[in-house]
Amino acid sequence: MGPDYRPDLQRDHGVAHGLSPFAQAQGAAPSLWSAHSAPAFFANPTPTLAPAPVPAAAAQAQTPGLLSSLWDGAKGLGSKGYHGLTDWAFEGRDRNNGRAPTQAEIDQDPSWRLMGPKETIYHDNNRGAAERKYVRDDPNSFLGLGGTEAVIDGDTGRPMEAGPYQATYNYVNPAKGGMGDLSLGGIGRNLGHLALDVIPYWFGGTVRGDEGTNFAQRVLGPETYKKAGAAWDGAKNWVGDKASGIGHAVGDAWDGTKDWVGDKASGIGHAVGDAWDGTKNWVGNKASSVGHAAGDAWDGAKNWAGNKASSIGKGISAGWRGLTGWMGG
């Protein structure tokens, strides 16, 4: 891995987004042991920028009092103390590991042992060819347990001397026989390596401060982390698709129910309408018949009355003519 590890990490961030647990923290990736994430009272009080000129009154107001000075002093001591307590995990590893050897130097020294791909995941930048990690025992370490490391960039062939994937000193080298070494020494070495070298890395990273990795990435390794992020996104999409499908199905069922109810209501409405129309027609017909009958009866009565009246008139007229004829004659 070369010195341009930051852009690479940022490119990897594209895998994870939203609420994904595999999302890369934007900007500072907190390291539990880094000064950035340390409690406020451990923060370095030293300002990094020159203070801007302030008015005299404001300057007087900003003049630290005794308590403030004590607090700043305590913070400085805390920061120094914290740095000292974690020195072994960062600067101490760098001091013990020494200068990173080149591949040519490793080629000429068989005491460097090549680690397998899965053993190298914490030093693989997940870009291009896989990195190569070599481990060598350190006879000068405490009880001879420690070991130095060398990591060679798979793409450039140069040692990775800085950044989150650099070689790191092991306070306890893992057992040469691996996990299968169940001897007391083997178990002790593997547990010691886990406790003093692996777990501190999970929580603190390789470099003090923001090295651009998060806890999950450090536990799973960059490649597995990326795959897990992709799987998480896939699972989210799958659940989203399923939910969408269920939503559509429910919507379709609701639409069908609505149509069915609408059709039924329409049918009932038509039936009622038809019945009403029939009733109306029947009543109308009946009324019409009654009306006609009444009209006919009226007409008959009128005709009968007219005929009767005509007959009476004619009788009266004939009687009158008879009377006038008798009187004139």
Binding site: P110, P139, M179
Partner: protein
């Protein structure tokens, strides 16, 4: 309540199991069993080292995987005093069904045992050569291979032939940092 039964304990145990499970690796190494323990024992007096001793120099072959594609074949020459050792005509051959296969390292190499390990035992190194991991895997596909080499201690002495049974070992490894 023990730590393992607490919520944090269960979470930590699950994390370890997951990481150990996901990050396991199988490493294949080729070793000469009688001499491989000199590195940790720092003793040259064990009886099983006698067949591999020439004029007080214990010859230990080392198969060092250099890259995922290639392996170096070294001779580590252990002694209690500084000596000049030469090696030549080395060849690695298969066993059983693979006995027809071989890899030659004919060149003559000379070194002086002037380095010292942590316990003061002196040693020198000779790089016989390099071969592909696929070739080595093919040679030792029956589980072992045989390395023959001629050794001479001091220029005035005669070359003596040594034979080493190289066996294949599989070990489970896990992510290291």
């Amino acid at each position: 309540m023990s730590f393992a039964n607490t919520r944090i304990g269960k979470w930590a145990a699950s994390l370890l199991v997951m990481v150990a499970g996901c990050n396991q690796d199988t490493r294949i190494e080729y070793q000469h069993n009688p001499t491989v323990h000199i590195e940790s024992d720092h003793t040259l007096s064990r009886p099983e080292l006698t067949p591999f001793t020439v004029d007080g120099v214990v010859v230990a072959p080392i198969f060092r995987m250099l890259t995922p594609q290639s392996t170096q074949v070294w001779l580590k020459l252990w002694t209690t005093s500084g000596k000049t050792v030469s090696a030549r005509a080395a060849h690695l051959s298969g066993t059983g069904a693979q006995s027809a296969q071989s890899q030659q390292f004919p060149a003559e190499h000379t070194t002086t045992t002037e380095k010292k390990d942590a316990k003061g035992v002196q040693y020198g190194l000779i790089l016989l050569g390099e071969l592909g991991n696929d070739v080595l895997a093919s040679l030792a596909s029956d589980g072992s291979a045989k390395l023959m080499v001629e050794i001479r201690v001091s220029p005035a002495a005669e070359y003596r032939s040594l034979s080493f049974d190289i066996t294949r070992h599989k070990t489970k490894q896990w992510a290291t940092h």
